[in-house]
Symmetry: C3
Subunit: 160 residues, 3 copies
């Protein structure tokens, strides 16, 4: 519920210049900026979609949640694609393309079933590459008993 | 045993200015500084609590070990809180607050049992947020058959 | 197959100055450089060995694949050593030593069997330390049903 309030706040801040809460609430004491780009999914617990700190963008583990409906995409291939697209949206909101990923960590719940799908979707999205360095592991369980989660780190130098 | 020697060394270096080993031992060829803040837990194997490199602080996976006794906090809630506090102590020793976290990765051994506790403790520690981007996964096993491990990355720009 | 083509391309670019594809193909729009150092293993899917972005080097999860034969080292101890050496080769190609690691994440498929081997190999490679901050977890499965995977991040400031 906190997250929904937070997201609503972001929209309000854009719409109403005299909003009681300033944009500085999204910047930490040391200058870490919390990201909540338009069109992104809505976090439902104690986490946010991403941060920018210096020249790097850190995206939370993304799953195949359709931001239109905030529910999981039903089929495996579509869900993996959506996970990558959710990550992409956050990275692009800070000026980073998929090619600017410095690392991916991919968590799957079945290596044999889902690793080939991840490879296929990455070919779709990255074309002939080069691809980011990747670590892929099979874990016991993801939130909502989901099948794939993707965590990306990106680089987009701040212009002076 | 090596780690205990290392920790003792750090204390000695502070206390005795004519110590035979200089503080430079904790700085790598490229300037990575190994952290061993006062009050922190004592690593018992081939790892250290954290590093600073440039503007970032990298904290090792922290578990709910009480630094007073170097043993695990008995109850689940207390143990999760302690894990976050162990991380916080290391981050703060380099000038970063919890709000300056750029990413958390949380490893639990039971998603249904421990994710709600992690959420609750994060509300305690971060208040209304914003919260850091987070990846949470259920794994097979942690060291000492522990239940939760938290890995944080922080931002604290070096002052010029 | 893509990876093999990519690797061949890198060699060609070095050998033939009039190559139709420039070295810029290995640099992203924002300046992330994809690494494929000589002597490294050859990725067989949609990933690369590492990236450099600003002052940091991000190495993909490395396993104990012998780059001479591109097959897994048979014994556990040798395989763990090889995984660390594969990581080291990539880091060193960008001017970072093992001491310049800012963080390691180690994935094992049996905490009781493989953590002691990881500790032993790290003592071999890092000597008396200090050691990097480390997170070690037991996961369900790694690619190729492997036993240990090591993911390292390194620091090597760009000279002005």
């Amino acid at each position: 519920m906190k997250s929904i309030a937070f997201s609503t706040l972001a929209v309000t801040t854009l719409a109403v210049t005299a909003a009681p809460v300033s944009a500085d609430d999204h910047v930490s004491p040391n200058g870490v900026r919390t990201l909540s780009p338009e069109g992104g999914i809505i976090p439902t617990a104690t986490w946010s979609l991403g941060t920018r700190a210096g020249d790097f963008i850190f995206v939370a583990g993304m799953r195949g949640i359709d931001p239109e409906t905030n529910t999981l995409v039903p089929d495996a291939e579509g869900r993996v694609r959506q996970a990558f697209m959710n990550m992409q949206l956050i990275a692009e909101s800070e000026g980073a393309t998929l090619r600017d990923a410095v690392r991916l960590v991919v968590y799957v719940t079945d290596m044999y079933r889902y690793r080939p799908i991840v490879n296929q979707i990455q070919e779709e999205l990255w074309g002939d590459g080069p691809y980011p360095p990747r670590t892929i592991i099979e874990v016991d369980r993801l939130n909502q008993d989901d099948i794939v989660e993707v965590e990306g780190t990106f680089y987009a130098p701040v212009e002076d």
